[in-house]
């Protein structure tokens, strides 16, 4: 419980206690070691980019932190409670109430309209149909796709579908959004619209966002960047030493 690390103070001054922390996570898929002792902290309302090459373990780290995948070793702590080791059912309920998830594509249910897709997490939680649809419409409005509420995912453009997916992730007013290459399949203009909408909405609601991406232009929307290489964090002397050397000017 109490092993949330205070190893890395942030680049800028003291940081608040993390809302979500991964500590020394390891995870293997067969012979492949996806994670080897990765630690990341996310503070409330922070937008954090997790970058790295393909196969560096960034998606696995996101899956572990979202409670979708159980790590082999290490701890995931959410609001002071251990997430790993919780039964699947409890993790599902937590994901439903406190987390939102956006993937590259394919997370919308093709049989349901955009409105029903967004209302789905509410319906699953037992909210009445009418109330759920009203909240879904409000959320679609915020992402600028209210006009597509009655369309099914197959009738939406890629950018619209991702905005619907984001509306669905945010409709329950979660504390953390997990986004795995949310714009991976989009062109740069659609990508910009989707990310701007996400950042604005998250800032307004104080939602923390963990965004996994290989694209620096996407990572630039975040407050901070953490790099992964071969399943472990790339040590970050980066910003600190860089400023020190420029400022110090030794001789």
């Amino acid at each position: 419980m109490n092993n949330s690390p205070s190893r890395t103070p942030g680049p800028t001054g003291p940081r608040r206690a993390p809302i979500l922390a991964a500590h020394a996570l390891s995870k293997s898929y067969g012979a492949t070691e996806a994670l080897r002792g990765a630690s990341v902290e996310l503070t409330a309302g922070e937008i954090l980019a997790l970058t790295g090459a393909s196969g560096s373990g960034k998606s696995t780290l996101l899956h572990c932190m979202a409670g979708i995948v159980e790590p082999d070793a290490g701890a995931v702590t959410y609001e002071g409670r251990r997430l790993d080791g919780l039964p699947e059912h409890a993790r599902t309920l937590l994901r439903r109430t406190d987390f939102g998830v956006v993937f590259q594509f394919g997370q919308l249910i093709p049989e349901l309209t955009a409105r029903d897709n967004v209302a789905l997490p509410l319906l699953l939680a037992g909210v009445r149909r009418q109330a759920a649809e009203q909240r879904a419409d409000a959320c679609l409005e915020r992402f600028g796709v209210r006009g597509q509420a009655a369309s099914r995912p197959g009738e939406l453009s890629g950018g619209q579908a991702q905005r619907v997916a984001m509306a669905r992730a945010l409709v329950t007013e979660p504390k953390v959004i997990f986004a795995d290459e949310p714009t991976g399949a989009l062109d740069s203009l659609a990508s910009e619209q989707v990310l701007t909408a996400l950042v604005h909405t998250a800032r307004e609601a104080g939602t923390a966002v963990l965004v996994v991406t290989h694209d620096a232009q996407v990572a630039a929307y975040a407050d901070r960047e953490v790099q992964l290489r071969d399943g472990a964090l790339v040590p970050e002397p980066a910003a600190a030493t860089a400023t020190a050397r420029v400022a110090g000017d030794e001789h």
């Binding site: 090459a53 990310l195 694209d215 620096a216 990572a219 975040a222 790339v234 002397p237 030794e250 001789h251």
Partner: protein, 182 residues
Amino acid sequence: MSTRHVLLGLLAGGPSHGYDLKRRHDARFPGARPLAYAQVYTTLQRLVRDGLVEVDGTDADGGPERTRYRSTERGIRELTGWLGEITPPAPHVSNEIFAKVVVGILAAAAGEAADPAGHLLAQRAAHMARMRELTAVKTAADTDLATVLSADYALTHLDADLRWMTTTAARIAALTEEITTP
């Protein structure tokens, strides 16, 4: 790109003639414009004037007389200072970063305090910080389109540098081997 520092870097490995420096420069930086001998000569003159380089001696084995130069203590300090300095993130800077990586590898091989891999990481962080600033400008509530587009221009070019740094960082071991094995 700073020819001064590149020549200082090439001299870090040991004393050398002007013509030899030009030849090694052109071999190390195949993408860059070949150095004119006159440019090498004037740069060396200035380095000597500033006390960063001194004359080591002259050779005349049969042919014309050639002056041999070597780096001074101050020259080494100047070189490591430059290697550690972050290049201001601006569009079209990768050429200078590349020079620093190559010269850094040479200097490190000669036993000087240079860390090209760490430098790439630091440079990458500086680029990211600049890109974050530009993105913040771009996504601010009432930014006009002209500002957004000019930020986009800079962002796209910085992103190109950054991609180059990422792939170079991943292949720095291979590059070091290529440069340090004769």
